[in-house]
Symmetry: C2
Subunit: 447 residues, 2 copies
Amino acid sequence: MESAAAKSTVRVAVLGAGNVGGALCKMLLDDADGIEARAGVRLELAGVAVAHPSRARPGIPQELITGDAKSLASDPSVDVVVELIGGIDPAFVVLEAALAAGKPVVTGNKELIAAHGAELSRAATEAGVDLLYEAAVAGAIPLVRALRDSLAGENVWRVMGIVNGTTNFILTTMADEGVTYEEALSEAQRLGLAERDPTADVEGIDAAAKVAILAGLAFRCDFPVEDVHREGIVGLRGIDIAFADKLGYVVKLLAVAERTDVGEIPKSRESDPVPEVSVRVHPALVAHSHPLASVRGSFNAVFVEGETCGELMLYGRGAGGAPTASAVLGDLIDAANHLSTGGPGRAVPRRTVSTRPIDDLRCAWYLNMDVLDRPGVLGAVATAFGTHGVSIRSMEQVGLGEEARLIFLTHVAREGAVRATLDDIRQLDMVEHVGGVLRVAGDEEDE
Amino acid sequence: MESAAAKSTVRVAVLGAGNVGGALCKMLLDDADGIEARAGVRLELAGVAVAHPSRARPGIPQELITGDAKSLASDPSVDVVVELIGGIDPAFVVLEAALAAGKPVVTGNKELIAAHGAELSRAATEAGVDLLYEAAVAGAIPLVRALRDSLAGENVWRVMGIVNGTTNFILTTMADEGVTYEEALSEAQRLGLAERDPTADVEGIDAAAKVAILAGLAFRCDFPVEDVHREGIVGLRGIDIAFADKLGYVVKLLAVAERTDVGEIPKSRESDPVPEVSVRVHPALVAHSHPLASVRGSFNAVFVEGETCGELMLYGRGAGGAPTASAVLGDLIDAANHLSTGGPGRAVPRRTVSTRPIDDLRCAWYLNMDVLDRPGVLGAVATAFGTHGVSIRSMEQVGLGEEARLIFLTHVAREGAVRATLDDIRQLDMVEHVGGVLRVAGDEEDE
């Protein structure tokens, strides 16, 4: 422990004392000796900024609590600033000021990093200090560090996974208990797994922020969160989940960031071209045999595929106070080490990427439509598929009295062609309703 | 890319041009521009040391090839040394000299790190340079970095996984095809997955080196490879694999590094005590429902459990030239970054740990014995269990003419008590043979 003893104490300001901030403060207060023994750095809680400083925080001495985040972050005695307030305002201005004052910043704020990561990264690079955000994506799973450092030289082809626990709970509940979306959402709210206003989760906004961050790391670019193609799970029907199950799939809300130009780049190349990518969040059918199919509740799991690393999967607790605080602690120790060695963390290069239009993506589709049970209807529907070159892999017909329900799985097809097919089908008099329209994940190679 | 352009080129010496070294050289030669675009550092292959320099290496210019590893490693124009020779001699002396000369070292040599990691780490710390070895354990899986950095402050309780692809292939083949150990080994050798002398794999020597390294990282200690309790898969019988399957388990060669004092440490503690650990490699029954049960062939997967991070799993290609070279490249970029920022990588604190004697470990057991089919035999066997306080969870009897086969699953018991029970049972006249004796993984909580 000689090297650790030679290091001075690193004083940490924690902004926000919710689930994650509270868990972090507890670790810093109760286990400073243990952390020093394991990590070789002494971390001291310099202060905690909260919105309501007069409210008692069990375990945190009152004299450490303040209502003034900005003053705490710019206190000259503070070495590192940890931001766990969430949201853009006031986090953004407080962290900009901290970085400008030469203080390394650790944050778990996915919304802020997705929206202003580029500006904050530039500010950190200019100041020669760290901006670290492992806790912003997938809780305790060391995904940010894996993409940023371990795979720094890797030609990453795809990052695909489950990064939102609330929607994963809702989908798991719908599948297991055969309940509706609304019932599963109520259950999630009752258990405290969904907020009263669940929009950020169920509309895929939370997952979109995370996948924008992952795309930035995987492709070494600033990927604007506005450019993430986003579809949530609102209105997803139990019937489609049940049919998917019968066909050998589960429905998951997937976050996907992938190169769409793989195979189009010459193996031996003079220089790396502008990568073309697709970054998106949408529900998708995942085969029962796929490891992502068995990820349940608040667990997260993310696949990374690259040219030389092959297929990697990282799995763990994607939410919760302690697991997320664990990710913050790892970053905090990084920042503290960099302070003592003098070298800041590395900046990720920022390349230009282009986004492939969603209509040009290719995958297989699950389609569910209600039609009048009359001669000729199947022919008319099949003709619409044929006109747009969409090939049918399997079809099932279920009688519903006057009507029939048709469930199709297509072969891999251009998304634009599938959309045009559905437009045509919706125009047919005999078609009452086109219900479930869902992508099938991981079937690119089925042709 | 301004920051990258400002950095000078980092010259890399590669020692060894086998599967991994060859793949790395190809990446450095063919994709230097791509690596620079992604990682922000320019890596240039300065030279390649091989045992037979006159042999042609397709794709590597002859003028880069030398037979003199030591001279290449100490060449003043070389910035970083990558060692992929394997084994202790001459790797150890070459790397000691490189570190002494102030050159960062990246190695994939598990044998060397397990045997001399402590000395090499000290030499690296003294010289203020990196010693990085992500590629020494589990190929492309970023496990070393996760334990060293992401979980630097974490109180890691357990690391458990499959880290040897050869034995995993043999066990998978025995289970799937119902063949003997010898037949599965021959198949592995035929496919180039096992060496002609398979000792290092099948005796668990390779896995023991890896788990010693993982224990060192997880518990922040120097864990001597000689202290790893090691049992291989030689002589494992198909019949036990078949019975295990029937009971709901697969047999896997597990590498385990765990704290044995969890629950014995006060939650709020003044200082971290000397950790007590168990580090071992042995075959074990893994429940079909456990994620490790579905890890096949050359894939590796490792669970990490800690006080705050909860359960993490990392999964990926644990062997192969390109995946392992991917891990080397990640380390190489780390070392190159540290050269340009001036800060070396961190040293892992080296604590003292104690090892719990194997007899004091507790787990459930699978036991298979052939007995004479006579009245009283079951009573005598059951008495032996009772005498030593080993409780039986389930028993199955299979008739074999004059004999009977008894298959027991025990409740969790002290290993010493199980051994004593078996000693007593072997003394019984009516017991012909005690065959399969295997631990059951992950059943600590069944009582």
